[in-house]
Amino acid sequence: MAVEGRSVALPVRKVIIHPVVLFNIVDNYERRNDNNKRVIGTLMGRYDKGTVYVTESFAVPHQETEEEVSMDMEYAMRIGELQKKVNTSMYTVGWYSSGIIINEYSSLIHAFYKCQCPTPVHLTVDTQLKEQKMKINTHISSQIGVKNGTEGCIFTPVSHTITGAEADQVSLKFFQGLRGNKKTPNFNDQEQIITSCSEMIAQINIVMGHVKKVLSGEAPSDKELGRQLMEVVQSIPNLDGDTITNMLNSHMQDLLAVEYLTYLTRQQLAISARINQIL
């Protein structure tokens, strides 16, 4: 796509962004050189029937002054090629920049990416947090001007959503929990389960409150909602309290044994390493 794609511009109607990309951008911004006002980089992903999936990104060194902008195109292209070697189904789909402002330089950089892919997407992330929420925008560009006249370009917005896999949610939540904490807490499996349990219990309480209201006639009986709830409760295993306690106990003992044995092995290895050192 990147090679033969120069000819036809493909329609883009939606952009789906993976959260890792946003993490990358924020990280890139945090580590920027002091004299750089913003950072830019390449977005990689795939294109499917009008939807662009952005799943990966890397930073590209660049410099901007009052008079001129320069970026390391060679670097951008080489890293792009290497990425493609790692994952052959991944293409360059556009570029990102920190800050929500799109300026003249943006149109120059965009022109470079237009040579890499047919309809590059431009993602801007407000890393300075000018508003309470981190503003994220996606644009595509179109040419403006008339035939035989001056040419220019316009960035028009496209809609976007941020979607991660379910497994990502766990770690994202964990990161969010770290906000404001300077110390890194232990990532303990059991505590995770305990906290998820209390969260679940609290949420079930909310749902139960609503169902009670429906049953007493205080809230309207919304059939659609009811059907969805039904689907949820039908998916939980039908177990009574005793069975669960038994299951937990037996599995718990296995787990503890395994944990203990791994600990023992680790100690033993450490001891033998020390002994080897002494000898």
Partner: protein, 393 residues
Amino acid sequence: MSNVLNLVAPSFIGISYLSQALEMKGLLETFGAKFDLPDNFEENEDTFLELLPQLIDQFPLYFTRCGSDVEVESAFFSLISMIQLLSQVDQIEETSKKLSNAIVADTNKERLLLKSKLLSQQFNCYQPSLSSTYVLLVNVLKLVVETGQLRNCSLDIDQISDWMTKWKSDVQEQRVIYRLLHEAFSAVQQGEKAIQALVRLLKLYSENEGVEAKSDAHICVISHIAHPKIFVMDHLLDLHPIRALDGQLSHELLQIFVNGDLNDYIEFYNNNLDFVEKLAVTHEENLRKMRLLTLASMAQDCSEIEFSQLVEKLNLATEELEPFVIEAIGSGLIKGKINEPEGKISISSTINRTFKEPQWLFIMNKLEMWQKNLVIIQESMRKGHFSVPIGGG
């Protein structure tokens, strides 16, 4: 000039907005457009304000006569970038509506796809802050209906209804949108979404107005019955336009699909042969659906159903039985297992054809059990808290 919206769709061109407008004027003139400007106009904002509406008026002419899609596109975006430079929000709203309407009013049937693309992108430039975007959305939808393609825009019913709340659209406007959405989704063959839009439309009619939407209600009932994957229809009975159908054959048929069983349907069919034959759905398809629904009802009452019962109640041959049950499970109507040696099926759950108090009670009980179990898990996790027994790590 200030640029209220330039942050939303910024544009860059090396010349002033007036020169940009004049260049376009020159181009349109070569295609035969006439402009009304004083001969010795001054190069200032007033001239620009006078010129821009004229450019928009003359643009459809260029659209028809210019051969190249790329050139038309770039001229169109040139207009958008100029509109964005206007200083008053209502000026922007008025001119962008004007441009959008001019494109749709052009009856040239060629290049519908290009039109659709341009208008979708124009719509994106304004959403969802301005109320004029309502007009833009209507135009976008009209073009989707005409082209039958959704290549250039993504339509999300929930999002659109959110926007309408923001625009403070009145009931009439909302009806227009939902009707268009229904037509658009039908045109792109997304039956399920088309039906969803139709239901939203019918929800907008109050008790007294129900009669007005009788024909829509009829279409809604029939498309629900005809759709091979929709089995649950009891929510339709709450809608006023559908209540207004009471006493008509389509309402009676709907009642059967909500509450009745196979025999009810066959009786209805025998009494109203003409009516069923004229429907958009065949008798065979109706039979198939009624069989599945009857099975769902049976599954609701008992957790095990014998093959012989099925054969008798559903009027099926024994060899048809297995594919039938597989279909029922595959379509999500029931969940369960076929117990071949004992000649029965065990049901673990089923969709509820009607959703009333017993179903809510069931949910309540299940939730209570779930919560209790979670408490048990939590407790035993706490008790089993593991600390490394020898020394420190």
